[in-house]
Symmetry: C2
Subunit: 494 residues, 2 copies
Amino acid sequence: MNIGELKEYTRDIYHLSRISALLGWDQETCMPSRAIEERGDQIALIQGLIHDRLTHETVGSSLGRLADAPLSDLDRRFAAKLKRDYDRSTRLPKALVTGLAKAASSAQAAWARARENNDWSLFEPHLETIISLIIEKAEAIGYEGHVYDALIDEYEPGMTVETLEQLLVGQAPALSGLVKRIAEKPAPDDSFLQQPYDTGKQEAFSRFILKEFGFPLDRGRLDVTAHPFTTSLGADDVRITTRYLPGFFNSAIFGTIHEAGHGFYELGFGDDIRGTILAEGASLGMHESQSRTWENLIGRSRGFWERYYPKLQQLFPENLAGVGLESFYKAVNKVERSFIRVEADEVTYNLHIILRYMLEKSLVAGQIPVRDLPEAWNMLCTEYFGMTPTSFREGVLQDIHWSMGAVGYFPTYALGNLIASQLASVMEKSLGSMNELVKSGEFPRIHAWLHDNIHVHGAAATPGELITAISGKPLSVDPFMDYIGGKYTRLYSL
Amino acid sequence: MNIGELKEYTRDIYHLSRISALLGWDQETCMPSRAIEERGDQIALIQGLIHDRLTHETVGSSLGRLADAPLSDLDRRFAAKLKRDYDRSTRLPKALVTGLAKAASSAQAAWARARENNDWSLFEPHLETIISLIIEKAEAIGYEGHVYDALIDEYEPGMTVETLEQLLVGQAPALSGLVKRIAEKPAPDDSFLQQPYDTGKQEAFSRFILKEFGFPLDRGRLDVTAHPFTTSLGADDVRITTRYLPGFFNSAIFGTIHEAGHGFYELGFGDDIRGTILAEGASLGMHESQSRTWENLIGRSRGFWERYYPKLQQLFPENLAGVGLESFYKAVNKVERSFIRVEADEVTYNLHIILRYMLEKSLVAGQIPVRDLPEAWNMLCTEYFGMTPTSFREGVLQDIHWSMGAVGYFPTYALGNLIASQLASVMEKSLGSMNELVKSGEFPRIHAWLHDNIHVHGAAATPGELITAISGKPLSVDPFMDYIGGKYTRLYSL
């Protein structure tokens, strides 16, 4: 196949991945409970069709012939992306793929039981299997430096342990120190956030904010799920989800804003990559940078609540009548050492990730055996947070990722925070202070900047290339530490 | 492939057809408007995969070898069904299939415009194309008697013009006469059905009735669409839809009950055919018989309203406080000569179908040219109903079917009414009067009878075989005429 034929050939892969996304979305939002088994077969069938097309021998031979062909810049990007996908898929023996899927399926069930019963022993043998298969997977894919490089690369192309040590582990002492200094200050009152909030009004406020942002509901939807996510069912069909907790304000609104950030990315791919395998985010870290930009840099800014708190107070007088703007702003930015990652604030969040990164890296390098994982977890937790989990549930059993075989995924959450800050600092140079933009509702300008600089490129550039092109330097931890240091020094009068 | 391998091979076809159904269901219930074009590509891709698998040459050669193999009864049924699907698919040249799909796509758009503007000339050239392609299709498929036989067979296996003349055209004079006698009687008041009915309460009542029927919501859903339908996304995932009109009572509840009848059929296929190409209705007529049994024989019976009218009155006191049971029962069974099929009652309904059957049969036989269709429509309408449409909208342009290339489909609606009555008369012999069963809420017994006699077989038997096996004779018009004659003679004191 020549380049044109390859593009035509891979269009089916693009469509099948969206069809698979619909099967997944429907499963989480609509599907009747007893349909779960057959839905699994349906998804497996579509995934198999994608795999067969992607790994077809003519793809490999065509890519080989293309290596020396004169191609436009975009075609070269396309060929590089296809080669990456082809290589990652063909290097894994089918038995290993099936073995991992099967092991993950029972490990997930075991994890849910183990977590429910706070019984590590129920999960340990399953994680043993997963880790040994994951090591096999890394060896099959290949790597130059650390075995973990082969794993993180799946989610964050080009990322390595060498870089992560500097970006993640390097920031741990400073973050840990900041958390400690904050903990010495009086904690702001946030009890009014944990009260009954009418879920209908929560939804109304979430939809109002989406409208303010300009999220296009003729090209997407907002629905309810247990665990919010964003999924792309087509170039003009990007669906975000949230949940309305009856007793806690933060979850719905920040969840909605977070997913809207992912949604804008998926809706923003350029016309030249529409309907191709380049129509996806450059990496999970880059994707998370978009959700974090909207959730934290915009949604948790003072400007945002200066603009919208009066409306929120009107909507929930029973909860907020006596709460001033300053108290509310402090409450939604309360920093707290806690055991649970998904409830963590902006400051402690990356520490939770660093802990997981340290552990999973050591697991796949064979430096700690699975049986010692709970103890290793608790030690690191004590080191970073100054407190030790008293149950597996609030420790090693809290996250689903490892049971799914997703090793190398966690760092992308922290990278998202770093990327968001680094790119926002560039945006501010051209558009002015983010806080002022948000305060005056200049969401179209923010969105246009993100769109033109990031979204439009999809996966036609690597995250490293994008970051360097936009900010003039590789990803660094400084902009994030500057942002977090500045914001919380003011908030807590450090 | 041997029989076991063929069954395994066709499992993908089964799954792909359910995946296609999800794409369609989502399009009608959830999909954001601008996603329509890409959704079309997605459905076309899945349909193409089904077609490629079904028409693969090894299917043909394997079926050929099976002809003399010793097979179990069920395997023989499976092979016969696969051969039927294979033959129908392979006999159509790809150019004809594509041509029809393309012509139907523009004809549908033209039909919508024509109907909106009441302008036949906008649709006429498109219908010309459709009819000439449909004739080509019939010739490619082949037939022994009438050219129309090749078309009706797609929807109603084994049905022929010869039989339809007797079952449909034969009943026209008697039906027409009954309608005339009813029209001479005073019309019951049904103005209270055409009033504002709170749509939330309409939904509550619809869901209540589904629960009374035992429709399993862990294996299905009820959603809202513009044009209600039922679709099967898996053996344990059958979704029905309805609509809540704010100013008309009948639509939601009878729509829900009708679709529930279709839903029970799809949910009832036996374990031995689960996940195979036999897991579908025996024919569209047989399917419609199930929806009509629930909608008309159950939902429009006196027993049903004796049981539920008090509850309905409580729910809608503003509409029904002063309306007695007898008045309500008469109103939901009001017989009225009207131009529009989808609003027709039990008595006039089949006349609308007979009219369409006569016309489409003549069209494909070349006995009337497309340009004369409006006049032919109006003449038949005058003959059957004693009144002539004054616009194309309430005449020849009212239905979407022909624009979709669905010729041979209409008769299945009328056949559904005949089959429902014939099978119900057998059921009554073993379970007692339907009216009494319904009145005392014996829905599990009715459902079990339909399940054990009809649903469980899926497409493992032809409709003709099923009807003869259950009732001891082929389909006849008498049970339907007996039912309709008896019910409306009492209702209108004829």
